[in-house]
Symmetry: C2
Subunit: 356 residues, 2 copies
Amino acid sequence: MREITLADLDDIARGAAILGTGGGGDPHIGRLLAASALRRHGPVRLCPLEELPADASVLPVAMMGAPTVMVEKLPVTDQVAVAAEALAGYLGRELTHIACAEAGGVNSLIPVVAAAQLGLPLVDADGMGRAFPEIQMVLPTLYGVRATPMAIADEKGNRAVLDTVDNHWAERLARSATIDMGCSAMISSYAMTGAQAAESLVPGTLSLCAELGALVRQARAGHADPVDAVVARLGGRRLFGGKVVDVERRTVTGFARGTATLSGTDGDTGGELVLRFQNEYLVAEVDGAVQACVPDLICTLDRETGDAVTTESLRFGQRVTVISAPCDPRWHTPEGLALAGPRYFGYDLDPVGAGR
Amino acid sequence: MREITLADLDDIARGAAILGTGGGGDPHIGRLLAASALRRHGPVRLCPLEELPADASVLPVAMMGAPTVMVEKLPVTDQVAVAAEALAGYLGRELTHIACAEAGGVNSLIPVVAAAQLGLPLVDADGMGRAFPEIQMVLPTLYGVRATPMAIADEKGNRAVLDTVDNHWAERLARSATIDMGCSAMISSYAMTGAQAAESLVPGTLSLCAELGALVRQARAGHADPVDAVVARLGGRRLFGGKVVDVERRTVTGFARGTATLSGTDGDTGGELVLRFQNEYLVAEVDGAVQACVPDLICTLDRETGDAVTTESLRFGQRVTVISAPCDPRWHTPEGLALAGPRYFGYDLDPVGAGR
C-alpha cells in the first residue's frame, strides 16, 4: 500500500480497532473523520518505515482521553492540525512526516486526518503495535525519545505546549489538561527524527490494519469464520467464547476503567471470563486463572462479524470471542515490562504467553 | 523610588503582605528570594507606569498555588526566569519590562527576582492593587488583555505554555497544572504592551508597598500604633480587635480555603469576627453581620507589630486587628464585581463599603 484512499478506510479502521485491544477509539468515528479529510484533501501518501530519511522530522499525533467520552464529543475539523502546528511552531522546525502513536479505531485514523490536512506523507508504522492507555507507553520511550515538547488542543480552541523532565510527567500534566478539556483532546507528541523513528517504531502497522480489515471482510463474504482469519494472521489464540453478562464501567482520572464478565457458550473454553480494562483490555481471567495480560494483546471480537468490540461499546448480551496475540517482542524486555507490564497496572502477575 | 536595592526589601515585603489581604505569599520568603537575586545581580530599576513607552513589551510574573504549600516548597533560583523566558520564546519577541501581577509578600517580590535575573526594569504597578486567588482576577481582564499565552514552570524543570480561548480557561488549565506540580508553580501571564499596561494596571504599587512598610517600621520605632498608620494611609477603617480562637483550613482544588474565628478583646468592636478565605480574606462578619467583603481589602495585622498575618500563618492565640480598605474603584464596576465580587466567590452579598 503506497497511499491511503477513501476505499481503504473501512479496512484500516476495522483492522486498527482489532489491534486497539479494546481502546484506541471507535472505528466508525475514525473512519468518518478520515473520510471527511480525504474527500477534501485527496489521498495520503504512505511512507514505509525503511524508506524514511534519517533526517526526516516526524510527528506522531493521537487523540487522548476516555473512549467513553470520545464517542460522544467529536473533534472539530482542524483540531488535529492545530495540535501538530502548535508543536511545530514551538519546535521552530518544519515537519516532513506524520506518524501514528498507537493502533486503534480512532488513533490509526487521526494521523491520516493530520497528514491529509497538512499535505504530508504518513509513516507506515506506529509507536506500540497496539494501543495502551498512557502517554509514556510507547516503544520510543525505551529508546530515549522524549514525549515533550508536546502539544495538546481541544475542540473549543484551547491549546497547550508541555515540556517536562520525563515522559511520566508528560502523561501526568497532559492527563490533567485532557480532563479539564472534557476528557478528550488531540495531542502531538514524541517529535523525532527519521533515524529515531526507524529504530523505535513498529513497522507496517497501517498496512497490517488494512490487511486485517480485508481478511475479516473477505471471511465474511466467503461465509468463513472471520475470527479464525484474525487469529491466524496475528499468531494468536482463542481464549474464550461467550456472552457478556455484566459490565462495570466508570470514567475516573480521565480513563474508562472497569471489568466485564462473560459467561461461556463454547463448551471448550470454560465457564466464565473476566476482562479488566483501563481504556484497553489489560487482563483476561478464565475461571479465575489469568490466561492473557498486558503487554500482549487481548482482543474482543464480535463472534459473527469479527469486528472488534471496544471497551466503551461492551454491553450486556453481546456474543463475542476473546483472543490473545503476541505483542512486539520489545515489550517483553525488562524495560518494556516496567513501562506497560501487568505490575505497572497494579496486577501482581508475571506476563502470560499469548501465542499458540 | 527609582530602583530597588537590598535595603528596600524589608519595607516592600512588609507593605506588600498588607496589600496581599492574607494571600500573595509569605513576606519572609519573598524577601529572601529577592535578596538572593539582588545580591547576585545588583539593584533593579523601577519604571513609573507613566514613563513606560507605549510599545514596551511587558510581562507580569507571579507565583501561583496554595500559600499553605508555598511556605514549604520554595522555588529554585532560576524558576522565575524560566517561566518568563519560556513565554518570551513562545511569543517570539524580546521582553523590555517585567511587571507585578498582584501585591503580596511573595508576589510583589517575585517580579523583583525576575527583573534582576533578566536584567530588565520593573514597572512600578500591579494588576490588582491587592491579591486575588484566581488568574483571571486582574484589571487587565477588564481591558481585554488576554492571560495567555502564559507559561508555567515548576522547581523540577517541568514547564508548559498555555493558550486558551479566555482568561477563565487559563485559570482552569493552569490550576490543574499547578496542582500536578505540587500546588505551587511560577507563572508568567498577561504579556502586554506598554499602552495596555498604562491603562489597565494599578500605578505605584511597589512604591506604596515600600511606603506602607516604612510607616509600620517607623511607628514601631516611635512607639506609635502601626495599625493606625496603615489605616490612615489606605483610607480604611478598623473592623475588629481580638484573638484567634479557631482556624479551619484545608487545601482543596489547589487553594488554601477556610474560616477563622476571632474573639473580641476590644470592647468597642464586637464579640466575634468570622473571616472567610480562599488564599485571601474574602468576607469579614462581626457578630453575624458582614462588615467588609471582596473586592475591598480585608487585612489582618498583628496588633503589636502591625505585620500582616497571612491566611496560612493564622493560628490560635494570635492577637490581631482586622481592618478594611477600599480597593481600586474599577473593581466596583459591574464588570469588576462579576470578576471578583462576593457573588463570584459564592457569597450572596452586595459589596460593603470599606472606607471610613
